[in-house]
Amino acid sequence: MAIIVNLDVMLARRKMSLTELSERVGITMSNLSILKTGKAKAVRLETLNAICEVLDCQPGDILEYSAAE
């Protein structure tokens, strides 16, 4: 897919583990893994909102469009 998920980059910047994010956002680890590995087919605005709130970032920091892929 042309949309790249940079969740791992943001997690590294915030020095936060996936488990901590999962606990604070209220999403299961398996769902966060799906998002992190780029297997997700859709992201709810509600989820994106919660992640941005916890990581203190913009949706553009997590999602990126790449025409090359």
Binding site: N31, L35, K39, A40, K41, R44
Partner: protein
């Protein structure tokens, strides 16, 4: 959902029960054919074989002979030789090699149809088994539905070929007579339609699987 799963289990049970009863009745009704062999069934042996044997072999063998036939109750009629045959006495052996070939083809086709029937039931049984566990929109089930549809369509076409072979066998029987055997096109349309509808359902299931996958991968 629980109610649906219960209904599926009930359907599965009914499928096993009805299939078993039909199979047992089939064996009971055709037990003599099972014991004698595959070539003794009246359908392959030509229509009213006893009647033919009576006319062509024994009763009407010389000029002036006639045949009295008694039906149910007091129904009777008389057949004269000139109304029935040209003069050649019919014998099964006269066309034996060709008839044998037709019979072999019919046997192979009927065996294939039997195998297809078993495969359809097996696929349906497994599909209902998975469905009763809640695994409905899976790739395996899609393949099963596709197979059922293809088998149904194939069976209707194979039955058509069997019909044609039966016609050819009858043609052989009537070869030495003045009778003309007409071929009546008889496609098992219900089976064909069921197969086609099943194929359409397969596409619905494919879409269902796609939606399920999408829903599962939505974070």
């Amino acid at each position: 959902m629980k109610k649906d799963l219960k209904s599926i289990r009930l359907i599965r049970f009914l499928l096993i029960a009805i299939s078993s009863v039909v199979f047992l009745i089939g064996i009971y009704q055709h037990r003599s054919a099972f014991m004698k062999g595959w070539n003794e069934t009246p359908a392959i042996d030509g229509p009213h074989s006893g009647f033919h044997a009576a006319i062509f072999k024994n009763v009407i063998s010389k000029e002036g002979d006639s045949l009295q036939i008694s039906g149910q109750g007091s129904y009777r009629f008389k057949l004269e030789k000139e109304y029935l045959v040209t003069g050649d006495v019919f014998s099964k052996e006269q066309g034996s090699s060709q008839v044998f070939l037709y019979k072999v083809c019919a046997f192979v086709l009927m065996t294939t149809i039997l195998i297809l029937t078993v495969l359809i039931l097996l696929n349906l049984f497994r599909f209902l088994g998975d469905s009763s566990r809640g695994e409905i929109f899976t790739l395996v089930n899609i393949d099963r539905i596709k197979a059922i549809g293809l088998y149904c369509v194939s069976m209707s076409l194979l039955l058509l070929v069997v019909d044609l072979i039966n016609f050819l066998i009858q043609l052989e029987f009537f070869r030495f007579t003045e009778y003309q055997v007409n071929y009546a096109f008889d496609l098992d349309y219900t089976l064909f339609a069921v197969g086609m509808v099943t194929m359409v359902i397969m596409y619905v299931f494919k879409k269902g699987h796609q939606l399920k996958e999408e829903q599962e991968l939505t974070v």
